[in-house]
């Protein structure tokens, strides 16, 4: 842990930050890695070339970090440490020095259509990415295939002004397109995480930037949840002793209470993948049970479970909308169950040993449908587990400190969760495949995270 914190300190205190980079203060290109698992050679190497214009340089830093956080590349630092300064002093490509301290520009404001590919190959890069200004307010990102010695793809996008709230999202979307161009897989750069802190709902970019308050009332809030289209989210607020569910539009910030809620304690909302239905938990004197409501027409409350002497709560839809995983105390302690979306065919989902396995809670179905993440009490503290939907095998993912409330990124590979591993409870992100872990937000008391799907462009406009 100490090593990890040290790494962070180095990151944020790195000397690469210049006044003109104020947009973004932690540069990643020093090659300091936060992760514990570091396997060079396993992932393709990538160089993101320096660029000189201030806005583009900010874009490059955000882009580099996104690509690094994708955990799919080994980002390579150009020799010479502060490569930006070096190339600023000596623009243009330059052959590597005899001692191997090859320094290079090659990027620059005018995107190079050809690069010194052998040089980058020698550095271990499989891909080189160049950011350049296009015509008007557009930017061009060129993805070079170093091994093939040519351009893999040229990506163009409108780039809002540096101060525009849409600037960051535009870069994040470019980063996802770079990932798509290089490896043919979808990224998670253009996503945000909702979370609760001090009873309010906040949103933060997946790279830890741009934290924003999205709650618009003084009522204590809980359990934010995204709609699959990324345009809306839902959450619960305490109102006069009731739990009320709200729907809020991302773009306008406008919100409305969900019809048929507000007379009881309604909580843990979950959108069906088609966005027409909201499943939730309702606590009454009979106990807590699962309901659905048609949010398209604001009608048709339906009860899915009848617990009576036990509780059913925390629904999460499978991505095909056919099934709902949930928590039930029917066997005593809360455990993870599954049923058809209409409430039929209820059965145990995550196996447990009666009398031995601790309470299991907070299930979230992964976007690829293959796993369900949840947390389970292990020896008096909580740990994150993953259930394989097909084999129903359960795997423990965390073991350091208390870890809870996992939420999947759209790539079904990254996961945000709450952990006190650093001494206080805060939000972390783990790459399930490599085990690399990074703090999302270094603030105490942040909890109940909900990771968005890939965000549509209109989500960038703010009220």
């Amino acid at each position: 842990m100490r090593r990890l914190l040290l790494g962070l300190a180095v990151l944020s205190a790195g000397p690469t930050v210049r006044p003109s980079d104020a947009q973004d203060t932690s540069a990643i290109d020093r090659g300091v890695r936060i992760g514990i698992v570091y396997r060079p050679g396993v992932r393709p190497g990538m160089v993101v070339l320096p660029v000189h214009a201030p806005a583009l340089d900010s874009a490059r830093i955000i882009l580099s970090r996104d690509l690094d956080y994708s955990d799919r590349f080994e980002l390579i630092t150009l020799p010479g440490g502060d490569s930006i300064r070096v190339t600023a002093a000596a623009p243009g490509a330059r052959p590597p020095a005899a001692g191997g301290a090859g320094r290079t520009g090659g990027g620059g404001a005018a995107a190079a259509t050809t690069l010194n590919y052998p040089l980058y190959q020698a550095l271990g890069a499989d891909f080189a990415v160049a950011v350049a200004a296009g015509s008007g307010d557009s930017a061009i990102v060129t993805v070079h295939d170093v091994a093939a010695g040519g351009v893999r793809r040229e990506l163009r996008a409108r780039l809002p002004a540096l101060k525009d709230p849409g600037f960051r999202l535009a870069i994040h979307q470019l980063a996802d397109r770079v990932l798509e161009a290089a490896l043919g897989v979808g990224g998670t750069a253009a996503t945000r995480v909702l979370f609760v802190m001090d009873g309010k709902v906040y949103s933060i970019d997946q790279d830890g930037a741009d934290q924003k308050l999205v709650s618009s009332s003084d009522h204590q809030a809980m359990s934010p949840a995204w709609a699959a289209d990324g345009r809306r989210f839902s959450y619960m607020e305490f109102w006069q002793g009731h739990g009320r569910l709200f729907l809020q539009e991302v773009a306008s910030g406008k919100r409305a209470p969900v019809a048929t809620t507000g007379q009881a304690l309604d909580f843990t909302p979950a959108f069906s993948p088609d966005g027409k239905t909201l499943a939730f938990s309702r606590a009454t004197e009979e106990g807590t049970d699962l309901y659905t409501v048609n949010i398209k027409d604001g009608c048709c409350l339906q009860r899915l479970t009848v617990g009576r002497f036990y509780d059913n709560l925390s629904p999460t839809y499978s991505p095909d909308g056919q099934r709902i995983a949930f928590v039930s105390t029917r066997a005593g302690l809360p455990q993870i169950y599954v049923m058809a979306a209409d409430g039929t065919d209820q059965q145990l989902f995550a196996p447990f040993d009666y009398g031995a396995t601790g309470s299991s809670n907070a299930p979230e179905w992964s976007p690829d449908g293959q796993t369900v993440a949840f947390h389970r009490d292990v020896g008096g503290t909580l740990q994150v587990f993953v259930l394989d939907v097909r084999t129903r095998a359960v795997r423990q993912l965390t073991s350091v400190g208390r870890n809870e409330d996992p939420t999947w990124a759209p790539d079904s590979r990254h996961m945000a969760f709450v952990s006190d591993r650093s001494g206080y409870r805060q939000l972390w992100i783990i790459d399930v495949e490599t085990g690399r872990i990074r703090p999302l937000l270094q603030k105490s008391g942040a909890r109940l995270p909900a990771w968005s799907p890939r965000l549509p462009e209109t989500a960038s406009s703010t009220p």
Binding site: E285, G287, G380, L382, D405
Partner: protein, 204 residues
Amino acid sequence: MKRLPLLLLSGLAVAVVAACGGGPKPETPAPAVVNQDSIDAARRAEEERQRAEAEAREREAREREARQRAADSLAALGKSTEAVRTLVATMIHFDYDKAIIRGGDAAVLDQKVAILQANPALRIRISGHCDERGSDEYNLALGNRRATAAKQYVVSHGIDGSRIETVSYGEERPLASGHDEESWAQNRRDEFEILSGGENLKQP
């Protein structure tokens, strides 16, 4: 609740424990009858012994409460509206991850029953709370069980259910901010709040 007619204190407490779901069985301690159902007894021996122990503790607590209550009811004669309000607001507490009314807290609820009987216009809200150890969202369900357990007790003693609202705040509104058993024990509670009819309260 079927046992309501017998107004013996112990009978009441047992009825309530039973009403609160999955609680211990009514008295008649098993150990006295040794020669019957030996197979069944063997299978459940350990369980029964634990229950008997728990019940013995509870019985002791009840007897203590009974003595206490006799003294209290005399003292209560001199109580003002303010004092009655304080009695209404007296909290009850729970074991970790449990929603069963403790033996000692039954007397606290008996006081509230008496006050509600003496003041027919009085309406209250019971809010259930949890400590920070469990899951945040599960604790809403647990707090709901705790609030409901207290309401069921009061209703089973003859109070109209429409006079009592319940709500759960889970672990969202802790009283004590520490991260130790002392704080947790304080936070696992039901709070009682007057909704209306609390202006002039008669003594029970």
